[in-house]
């Protein structure tokens, strides 16, 4: 076991892992069929949303039921900006900043309340968001929703639209994951963890629970906005239905199923959010809700730590048998490769900007 860990720690193994992931990210969109590409892109969209939720819930321990509101807000900002013909980079920045600003405002009030009260406040967001989106019809298109088709592949690339969209998702989503990873593994991550475990201890160490709760919530909202932008890249349409409160609950369930407080778990959560409805549809379209409930219960019973704990479970079983399963060994360098990325992507100014909040 330790031999494998040591093997995974070797620099060239980690670099190979990183290279493998990067090359796969470049090559897979070119090989895969269209349906697979759009499905992976959708997984990416919701993985970023789950990642945001993970920052505030998994790492900082604050229950947020409003994540879908920020996804929807990001999507609406994107749709509006595209409709106005603004530069797409500006639209992207706005789709990140506006949800972050709204999240900050909400968090400034909500984080003053302790415990589950913050959950009660965040419940209000999607519940208020849906009628709001319907009534502000000059911005949102009302209940008919609004389309924004800006993500067609440029002619010079020679790519299909689905390939181009997947590249955008991989790039933006990948950067989001890296930055968030750096955030939660560093000084801020340690502060989040202590705020989650014990606010009094955090206070005694000079870490203001209030400030860090607000920060985590703002980061979550920002990632929600990023997810909303990607939502428009892939789905190209948004309506008040996007903000449906039920989706917020599904996001939360996805986060728990993927693995709370885990970067890879966020990815698995996004996959759960997208793939399980499609999978249950293939089994029996009339029983989707029942099957999804059964899968949810099965995962929670068998893997309380989420899907991300599966390799650990296997490794433990392998150790009990006195050998190591080949699958666990194969997954080790992949997991390790993620940590190797830290060195090539130092924290950016966007993160430092967030400290001021």
């Amino acid at each position: 076991m330790s031999a494998i860990a040591a093997f995974a720690q070797k620099p060239w193994v980690r670099w190979t892992g990183v290279a493998l992931i990067v090359v796969l990210a470049i090559v897979l969109p070119l090989i895969l069929p269209e349906l697979a590409n759009t499905t992976i892109a959708r997984v990416g969209v919701f993985a970023v949303a789950v990642l945001g939720l993970n920052v505030v819930m998994g790492y900082t321990g604050q229950v947020s039921l409003g994540q879908i509101f920020f996804v929807g807000l990001g999507a609406y900002v994107t749709a509006y900006g595209v409709g106005q013909g603004w530069n797409i980079l500006l639209v992207f920045v706005l789709a990140c900043l506006i949800p972050a600003a709204v999240g900050l405002l909400v968090a400034l009030a909500a984080a003053r309340l302790g415990g589950l009260a913050i959950a009660m406040v965040t419940i209000a967001l999607p519940i208020v968001g849906v009628p709001l989106a319907k009534r502000l019809s000059e911005f949102t298109g009302g209940s008919e929703g609004v389309s924004a088709r800006f993500s067609a592949a440029p002619a010079w690339t020679g790519l299909y639209d689905d390939q181009w969209q997947l590249y955008i998702v991989l790039l933006v989503g990948g950067i989001s994951f890296l930055l968030t990873r750096n955030l939660v593994r560093g000084k801020y991550g340690r502060a989040f963890a202590i705020v989650k475990d014990n606010e009094s201890v955090a206070g005694s160490m000079g870490i203001s629970p209030y400030r860090y709760k607000v920060l985590a919530f703002t980061v979550a909202s920002l990632l929600g906005g990023v997810s909303g932008f990607l939502y428009m890249v892939v789905i190209q349409y948004t309506s008040p239905e996007t903000l449906n409160f039920g989706h917020s609950i599904t996001l939360l369930a996805s986060m728990v199923i993927g693995g709370a407080g885990s970067i890879i778990g966020s990815l698995l959560g996004g996959a759960y959010y997208v793939l399980v409805p499609q999978l249950t549809n293939l089994i029996d379209p009339g029983l989707t809700a029942v099957l999804q409930g059964a899968i949810l219960l099965a995962v929670l019973f068998l893997l309380p730590g989420g899907l991300v704990s599966l390799p650990r479970l296997w490794r433990r079983a392998g150790r009990r048998r006195g050998d190591v399963s080949p699958r666990a060994a194969a997954s080790a360098p992949v997991a390790a490769s993620a940590s190797a990325d830290v060195s090539i992507h130092p924290p950016t100014e966007s993160q430092e900007g967030r400290q001021d909040t």
């Binding site: 499905t39 008040p240 239905e241």
Partner: protein
């Protein structure tokens, strides 16, 4: 030194993988990468000389699962019977079996778009999906892919605009048309009417109101005194009804009959429909059981504020008085307002003639069905109950009971049917 060698090794690995990958990529999608627009020679997917496949994405779970499930069940049953008889004869002279592939989108536009992506390469056309956002989500994709999106269940006018939606065809009449039908009916009636509008806060309600207003634009006898909205997910419209009742309006126009078929609005419909149709007289012990209508409203819809008579004796349960406006509606003496509206819509839609007894009966039956009297074959009962006061038989009483409290259970049609049969 060692890091240098590591880097070299890493780069060689990257280069190796990259080369292999590019080679693979060169082969992938090779078949169609040369001529993405050369699809004219290739046959459309989902159709052969003996079969055609249609795709459906519609809510089969969640609050709107009711109509979605019924759609799929109905289509499957119909084409199942047709297939068993040998198939459907098409315009090109060939007889094909119709296969249905239905997927659940839970009224989520994102899932609807995903379902469309999943189905589009294996079906000839997409059809019958319910919902404005769930159909809009992939409307433009369907245009780009040239996949027909036909006979879909939304009254959104964009699907009936052939310049904007060349590959689309709506199924239900657009909401504006339906609203205009109500407006026309009212404008043609004699007397002055004050109208209070209660509409669902979405494109559906707005379309109705828009159509209604355009139809009464030139009618001097109609005045709109108040407009309120409710959310499709609301379970109570008490507040709105009370406020509308305060306006003294004599006609309450609501985009309500379709609401009854759309899950979350069922309770709202239960509140609205009885408020017009089944006002119980004061003092009736059954009054207020099952439906809770603000008492003030009774007065409003009864001839502008006249106090309802107290119900006594064997005829108890029949509505003693009717709003003046409704009574005056042409050609329909004694038929309640909602039935008149439904009749008129059926009439217009199906081209049925009111003066033909067989057609009139059919209209009554349709209206009875819309009122939740699923399985009612003798629709004379409606008129009879309200006007002739003929002794109600056992079944009639049972139906009356179902109607009185059962409209609440409108969401579960099976329940109503079961209790009737």
């Amino acid at each position: 030194m060692s890091t240098h060698r590591t880097r070299l090794r890493a780069m060689s690995v990257v280069a190796g993988i990259g080369i292999v990958a590019l080679l693979v990529a060169g082969c992938a999608r090779g078949g169609d990468s040369g001529s993405p627009s050369g699809g004219t020679s290739a046959p459309s997917p989902g159709i052969t000389d003996t079969s055609i496949t249609l795709g459906i994405t519609t809510p089969l779970s969640g609050p709107t699962a009711g109509p979605g499930t019924c759609t799929v069940a109905g289509i499957t049953a119909y084409f199942g019977a047709k297939n068993a008889d040998g198939g459907v004869k098409f315009g090109d002279g060939k007889t094909r079996k119709v296969e249905i592939k239905a997927l659940d989108d839970a009224y989520d536009p994102q899932k609807a778009a995903a379902n469309y992506d999943q189905l589009k390469d294996s079906v000839f056309a997409m059809t019958a999906g319910l919902g404005t956002p769930t159909n809009r989500a992939w409307r433009e994709a369907a245009i780009a892919d040239k996949v027909p999106q036909v006979l879909i269940q939304t009254g959104d006018p964009i699907f009936s605009d052939s310049t904007q939606s060349p590959w689309q065809l709506g199924f239900v009449p657009i909401y504006q048309n339906e609203g205009a039908a109500f407006g026309k009916l009212l404008a043609a009636s004699s007397g002055e009417h004050k109208v209070a509008i209660l509409s669902q806060n979405d494109d559906y309600g707005k379309g109705y109101v828009e159509g209604f207003k355009s139809a009464i634009k030139d009618a001097s006898n109609i005045k709109i005194v108040k407009e309120l909205t409710y959310e499709a997910t609301d379970t109570s419209v008490d507040a709105q009804l009370t406020e509308l009742a305060g306006t003294g309006a004599d006609v309450d126009h609501a985009a309500r009959d379709l609401v009854a078929a759309e899950g979350p609005g069922a309770q709202v419909a239960a509140q609205l429909v009885p408020s017009v149709e089944h006002v119980q007289p004061e003092g009736d012990p059954r009054a207020g059981r099952g439906v809770r209508v603000p008492r003030r409203l009774h007065g409003v819809i009864r001839e502008g504020g006249r106090k309802p008579r107290v119900c006594k004796g064997p005829r108890c349960g029949q509505v003693p008085g009717r709003p003046q406006a409704v009574r005056e509606l042409p050609r329909h003496p004694g038929v309640p307002a909602l039935l008149v509206e439904l009749h008129d819509r059926r009439h217009a839609r199906a081209g049925l003639r009111e003066d033909d007894p067989a057609d009139a009966r059919r209209l009554h039956e349709a209206a009875a069905h819309d009122l939740g009297l699923h399985g009612t074959s003798d629709a004379r009962w409606h008129v009879g109950r309200h006007d002739e006061g003929r002794p109600a038989g056992r079944l009639d009483r049972h139906r009356a009971e179902v109607q009185r409290q059962g409209l609440r259970e409108r969401g579960d049609l099976r329940m109503t049917t079961a209790s009737l049969t």
